[in-house]
């Protein structure tokens, strides 16, 4: 359990705080919402409500992370966000296709939702068109994925943040600032087993000490790609998936992107438990007071 020498930023999006020293704020949990075929909004509404209820119980803020795959689904998903999510609830949009990214930004702007939007994500594949669209329709917060295809170590991750590792004209942090994004979360890019998967966790304290920015990742993706678990231990997969998120907290991280959202019933108590463990040490040893909403205050 750590305390960082570098001042740690605490960022706010629509009332949810993220960042700080370990033990200070509860870990923020992004629940991944994936749609297979046509979006099932009834099921999604139920899952989000369950996640919000769990947030109230443990104190860990929750953020629905909408994976938007197809352009034709974008309007419907954003309408759902506008009409069904609680009015101040922040959310993130996870999009891979550059054209869909631009369309979603335009539509979010039209619907006056950008102040609650976490853009997931900016990475070394960022295009000129995307940069232009982000300047025009700037989200409140963005996740920068520190994926470096050449060097997957913490140093390689820092390289893409600093100078783009020759893949972009400048570092991803500079690009984000130039766009006008003031609130940045760093994602340490969890990769498959065999591809230096542990580096995404080891990079958390390195990046926090280097920049003081809120840092986390989607470590559950590593479990998803551990085919040996599905093959030999199918019954344990969900448990391994949910518990993988504790690595982030133990290494000083501020948020976890877990998935799918259906795993929330397992992830929230696991992370609350881990937050309490960290807080007990960091308060006693470093004098870090847990926030009012911290799970340690909720249950003790």
């Amino acid at each position: 359990m750590f305390s960082f020498t570098k001042k740690q930023e605490v960022l706010d999006i629509s009332g949810i705080k993220i960042g700080g020293q370990p033990g200070e704020l509860p870990t923020v949990l992004f629940g991944g919402i994936f749609f297979k075929g046509s979006p099932d909004f009834k099921k999604t509404e139920k899952n989000i409500q369950n996640m919000l209820d769990l947030s109230k119980k443990t104190g860990n803020p929750s953020i629905p992370d909408f994976f938007i795959k197809k352009e034709e689904d974008a309007d419907e998903i954003i309408d759902f966000i506008e009409n069904v999510l609680p009015k101040n609830q922040p959310f993130s949009v996870d999009i891979i296709e550059p054209n869909v990214k631009i369309k979603v930004l335009e539509y979010l702007d039209k619907k006056y939702l950008l102040h609650r939007t976490i853009y997931n994500s900016i990475h070394v594949g960022v295009t000129e068109k995307e940069r232009k669209a982000l300047k025009q329709h700037t989200p409140e917060m963005a996740i920068i994925v520190a994926f470096n295809p050449k060097d997957k170590s913490p140093d390689g991750k820092i390289e893409v943040l600093e100078n783009g590792a020759h893949l972009t004209d400048k570092g991803l942090l500079a690009i984000s600032k130039e766009i006008g994004i003031k609130k940045i979360l760093v994602d340490t890019a969890a990769l498959s087993p065999g591809d230096y998967s542990g580096a995404s966790i080891a990079a958390i304290p390195v990046i926090k000490e280097e920049y003081g920015l809120p840092t986390g990742c989607a470590i559950h993706n590593v479990v998803e790609k551990s085919t040996w678990i599905s093959k030999y231990f199918e019954g344990a997969k969900k448990t391994v998936d949910a518990s993988s998120n504790v690595d982030i907290v133990l290494f000083g991280g501020d948020y976890a992107i877990f998935g799918p959202i259906e795993n929330a019933d397992l992830v929230f108590p696991i992370i609350a438990w881990q937050d309490i463990l960290v807080s007990e040490y960091t308060e006693n040893y470093f004098g870090v007071k847990p926030a009012e909403s911290h799970p340690r205050r909720k249950f003790f």
């Binding site: 891979i96 170590s153 913490p154």
Partner: protein
């Protein structure tokens, strides 16, 4: 999985060691006939493609690469693989004309890429999902009985230099942690 023919490992199934066909599956539930050498899924347009290239050139019996199934949105991994075969990479290691989001080949030497382009004939079946159509194409490739390409090419993974750290308590070359858990930047 790793074996002598496929030194870079990955998520794939081995069939016939001296088979001449490898099959890349893009979002498709399909099992190729057992006469193929190897088959497996492709997810990413960078690391995934690198593994395919490195593993295929180490087995010189493989002469055809069939890419089938639904293209992966955003990543466009199948089309990026085809672009690599057609055009190679530019000076920045970006696959020329690749439509994927981050189509960079950073861990293979140019020589390995050229070997891949020469050894393999690529069969573009992106968007084809019918078992009978893919089976028929594979059979046609096998029927050509191509010769072995020669010696295996064992691709060396280009690795960045690692920093040696003398003190054992260090977390990383950039930071140190004292016995209490305080993290500091290394001077």
């Amino acid at each position: 999985m790793k074996n002598e023919y496929y030194p870079w490992g990955g998520d794939f199934t081995l069939c016939k060691n001296n088979g001449c066909v490898a099959v890349v599956l893009l979002q498709i539930d399909y099992t190729p006939p057992s006469e193929v050498a190897v088959y497996g899924p492709l997810k990413t347009e960078n690391i995934g493609i690198e593994k395919i290239v490195a593993n295929l050139i180490s087995n010189p019996y493989i002469r055809y690469l069939v890419v089938c199934g639904d293209e992966i949105r955003g990543h466009r991994s199948g089309s990026s693989l085809i672009a690599l075969h057609k055009y190679g990479v530019d000076k920045k290691n970006r696959i020329i004309n690749a439509p994927g989001a981050i189509p960079y080949i950073e861990n293979l030497k140019q020589e390995a890429i050229e070997r891949f382009r020469k050894q393999l004939e690529l069969v573009d079946m992106i968007d084809v999902k019918e078992k009978k159509d893919i089976d028929a194409t594979i059979k046609r490739c096998i029927a050509k009985k191509p010769s072995c390409f020669g010696e295996p090419y064992i691709a060396i993974r280009i690795k960045p230099e690692t920093t040696k750290i003398e003190d054992k308590k260090a977390l990383h070359s950039r930071i140190i942690i004292d016995y209490m858990g305080i993290v500091k930047k290394r001077e």
